[in-house]
Amino acid sequence: MAEQKVKLLGFWVSPFVYRVIWALKLKGIDYEHIEEDIFNKSPLLLQLNPIHKKVPVLIHGDKVICESYVIVQYIDETWPHCPLLPQHPYERAMARFWADFAETKLLITIAIALWARGEVQERAVKQAMEAMEKIEGVVKGKKLFGGESIGYLDICLGWMSYWLPVWEEVGGMQIIDPIKFPATSSWMNTFLHHPVIGDNLPARDAMIEYFQKRSKDISESDWFEGIIRLHLQP
């Protein structure tokens, strides 16, 4: 089963897609990359992911899997060499807990800090830094979240190492202060210098341009207003 053809529907700048790319590359799995234009979704994407209509989508033989963290766990269970999740159930639970925390408490708040301005941005930055303190505590004293090698949590948090500095520049704000978050800063450096990661990142200039262009559309959308209402504390 593991020998069947693997394809990945992706979008060049998506950190969620890169989670899957890193998982595939770390395990040395050959795959075909199919680039999607998420602003003009292909019939293939709409057919394969009718529920969410989003990338990444992994196709393995005749199987289709959606949602980045579901895909990464599928990859880890189908190709068990170079394991990404820890072996012990309690450590696995901790990896999943922190991945969920980073997604629901940190990433969303940083997205608000990226697109908002003025007082809303200030509150978002403050809330993001409070969440970041928790992450700092998790990686303190470790080379990587996975210990000596890249693991599931490193992959789920990989956006912090490369996308976050871009967002800080576009948003004109700072969340990762190396003095406040020395362990996280050190992790960012270690993670990015891993050959598999360093060789698989989108071009920074293109990212800056992309996120700057998106700024107006997102900050004025109803969706964004809803996000602020639900996730930013008063």
């Binding site: 529920i51 393995h60 949602e67 579901v70 895909i71 269970e77 159930p89 639970a93 901790m94 807990f97």
Partner: protein
């Protein structure tokens, strides 16, 4: 139960910190009972959280928290996967990686589109609530579609041939709480005529022995969630102030805290 509050004190035990109304706690209880795991249940007072809870879940300070061999685990879906990986009898998730991926996908869909949307519809009103209810109805169409595709007279549950499974536990709260929240929130998404397969699943799930034995009475849930809604809409505080003022005017010496305000604080911290 004597406790210094230290997590290490619970070595060798399985303990679940919970609150009677919480559907997230119920999921974990169902998983433990399904596997026949002995555990101590601790009813938390969410207006006066125990040291054990605060030490075990310092990040979210919420229930459920499972403490096993002194190790605390929080977040219901994380806990259920931990239970499944630690106690192999009566598997909750399927064995095959693709089937596991599908179970996790559906669990995630249910949480994002059904559970969260219901919570948001409960604590909103007017145009905001209408928007959430519309999203919820669309999500329920997807759930009905999945129930129609997967369930039949021989396969009663999403766990497939093995009976109940992960998706059933994650969706299970709907069989009791959805009606309650509809009543309190003043909206309707349950539609037996258009959701026949989902309603059949709910009826079957309610009859599972450990589910039936643990469902809270509807009147109690309605009373609780009514306070949650009013608290979040800012409707309860004037009532409490007025009631407290009236109570004080009747008995100026009394320092007694108004009983309903306890639930107000509980509602605010859990929602």
């Amino acid at each position: 139960m004597a406790s210094t509050g230290s997590v290490a004190d619970q070595e060798g035990q399985v303990m679940l910190l919970g609150f009677w109304f919480s559907p997230f706690v119920k999921r974990v209880e169902w998983a433990l009972k399904f596997k026949g795991i002995e555990y101590d249940y601790v009813e938390e007072d969410l207006t006066n959280k125990s040291t054990l809870l605060l030490n075990s879940n310092p990040i979210h300070k919420k229930v459920p928290v499972l403490i096993h061999n002194g190790n605390p685990i929080a977040e219901s879906l994380v806990i259920i996967e931990y239970i499944d990986e630690t106690w192999k009898k009566n598997p909750i998730l399927p064995q095959d990686p693709y089937d596991r991926a599908m179970a996790r996908f559906w669990a995630n869909f249910i949480e994002q589109k059904v559970t969260e949307s219901t919570r948001e519809a409960l604590v909103s009103q007017g145009e905001q609530q209408e928007k959430k209810v519309k999203e919820l109805k669309e999500a329920m169409e997807v759930v009905e579609g999945e129930a129609k595709a997967k369930l039949n007279d021989k396969t009663l549950f999403f766990g497939g041939g093995n009976g109940v499974g992960y998706v059933d536990f994650v969706l299970g709260w709907t069989c009791n709480w959805m009606e309650t929240i509809e009543e309190v929130g003043g909206f309707k998404v349950l539609d037996p005529a258009n959701q026949p397969h989902f309603h059949k699943w709910m009826a079957n799930f309610r009859e599972v022995s450990f589910v039936k034995a643990t469902l809270a009475p509807k009147e109690k849930l309605v009373e609780y969630f009514r306070i949650v809604r009013q608290a979040r809409l800012g409707l309860l505080l004037p009532y409490i102030r007025e009631s407290s003022a009236k109570a004080r005017s009747r008995n100026p010496e009394s320092k007694q805290h108004h009983p309903e305000s306890k639930n107000y604080h509980a509602c605010v911290v859990v929602c």
